[in-house]
Amino acid sequence: MISPEQYPVLIVVIPLLSAFLISILGGMDKRFCYPATLLALGGSLAAAVATLCLVADHGIIHYRMGGWAPPFGIEYVVDYLNALVLVVVVFVAFMAAIASKVSVEEELPHKIPQFYTLFVLLTTGLLGMTITGDAFNLYVLMEIAALTNYALIAMGRKRALMASFNYVVIGTMGACFYLLGVGHLYIMTGSLNMADILNILPHLYGTNAILVAAILMLMGAWIKMAFFPMHGWLPNAYTYAPSATSSLVAPLMTKVSVYIMIRVMFSVLGAVYVFKVLPVKELIVWLATAAIIAGSLFALAQKDFKKMLTYLIVAEVGYMVGGVWLATAQGITGAILHIVNDAVMTLCLFLFAAIVVHKTKGHQLSNLQGLFKKMPITMAAFAVGALSMIGVPPTAGFFSKWYLILGGIDAGQWQFVVALLFSSLVNAVLFFRIFEIAYYEPESAQHGHGESVAIDEAPLSMLLPLVVVAITIILLGLYSGEIVTTFIQHAVPAGI
């Protein structure tokens, strides 16, 4: 009944409609929420995969909302870049949703319907941000994602409240900067459609207004992704959020913001403008270098496992921003591949963190003691994620880092290469320290010495997604060549 050309809109509409149904059903009986969420995200995942196949076969898809032609109505554009990001976003959300069951029942027992409604709406917002071809529509969806995010974080109570408030203030500032940037583009070009703006802009490249628009839009995206000097809100917000929230938000929010930066750079302003006209390429790579080093150093200083991971996110954002602004084909390929890989890797680590919180009621590093013996499968899956963060060859993390390093060498930005290697080293130190704590240190003194600890695995609903994600990391590593040739190389703008 629904023809293939309708698939792109289904990706967004299925979760959107189900969010309201979840809210209604959840009001009657909260046991409906979990299966309904899985169904919604599963349907969306199917639509996203179908769209990915369509894009791989037939190229870019355009979809007109309400049947109106593009500059007048809102248009969805699915190209090689966002088809891939869409699948990653739904996949991560789906896995996080499966794993959320136990921790939601434990941490938010009275708010299950609200949690799942907001969860699905957050996914909808992120998907909509990824798929849209309209600059203003992006803002509206950004606000949906942001508002759900504030609420999901504030559900953590106590310290999460203050973190969430800071996030509200800073996040609103970021979104408003983006909106203001769109306003500057609108007053100069009279259009809101990204492709249309890209067409009109070249004869306005010299003007101050476009420069300011570019600065504002990039600032907006940077604030949202917690790029180094603006990262202050992120660690507390993600650390004190409920674990089900952080395993959805931490992998996706920053990655989608990086995607938005790429979209603004290449599909709105134009690669020629950002790389040839703007004289800031080197400066931003330096900032990214600073982000990587600062993020890694802060991560080293943490005693809290979740907070350590959040600082690693700050460093990873540096990888991606730096990779894009290297302005070489290799660097951009690496950055896009890293969006995919890093989302899955971060998901793996945060799912593990959720299991740790579930089992030990805390997220300090000391909570990890003796876990290798108690939960061998969980720890094996975690080890895959950790090795991938370090960048050990068969895992996904190695390949994107490889492209980034090649890009850095191509561009002659040696400081970036050094920072990447330094950060790998720091990751190695961090994760081997964790392995040591989890493997050698006994859980606690009163359990006695040398006694064999009973195996006490995580519940299946948490273990299964973790294992799937770990396998995905290896598969992404093995097939990274295919991903690059089928999708990413078409996404890199020509002529740089």
Binding site: F136, V140, E143, L147, Y150, A151, A154, R157, K158, R159, L161, M162, S164, F165, V168, V169, T172, M173, C176, L179, L180, G183, Y186, I187, L192
Partner: protein, 125 residues
């Protein structure tokens, strides 16, 4: 006079925006931050609505829309409706953010008994 009239709307929106940003950053009272945030958002609305204004044009509702359906409509007679649509959305987003921010500020007050950022941070430590 000409140049003043031509651009002052844009200058004043910048002034409002600066007030908003100052409120968001320099004020430590959470309610003041929220007020700053709202001013910041209205400043953007001033900007957009100013884009839509058009000399000698009337409000964007077609006159005699009922009867002569195909009477010629002169574009110059009506102001640009698109920014209005966008700003309706922005106002709604603004009130949504305001509600959420107030709710968070109120639960912070419940938790820490204060709305001053520095006192709350002291209590956190």
């Amino acid at each position: 006079m000409e140049i003043l009239l031509a651009k002052y709307n844009y200058w004043i929106y910048v002034a409002l925006m600066m007030i908003g940003i100052y409120g968001m950053i320099a004020k430590t009272n959470l309610m003041k931050k929220i007020i700053g945030m709202s001013i910041f958002q209205t400043a953007i609305i001033v900007f957009y609505v100013s884009i839509g204004a058009k000399k000698g044009a009337t409000i964007p509702i077609i006159e005699h829309g009922h009867g002569a359906a195909h009477a010629a409509v002169r574009v110059a007679d009506y102001v640009n409706p698109l920014p209005h649509v966008l700003m309706l959305t922005a106002i709604v987003v603004g009130v949504g953010t305001l509600g959420v921010a107030l709710a968070i500020a109120m639960s912070i007050y419940k938790e820490y008994g204060s709305l001053e950022e520095d006192e709350i941070l002291e209590r956190l430590e």
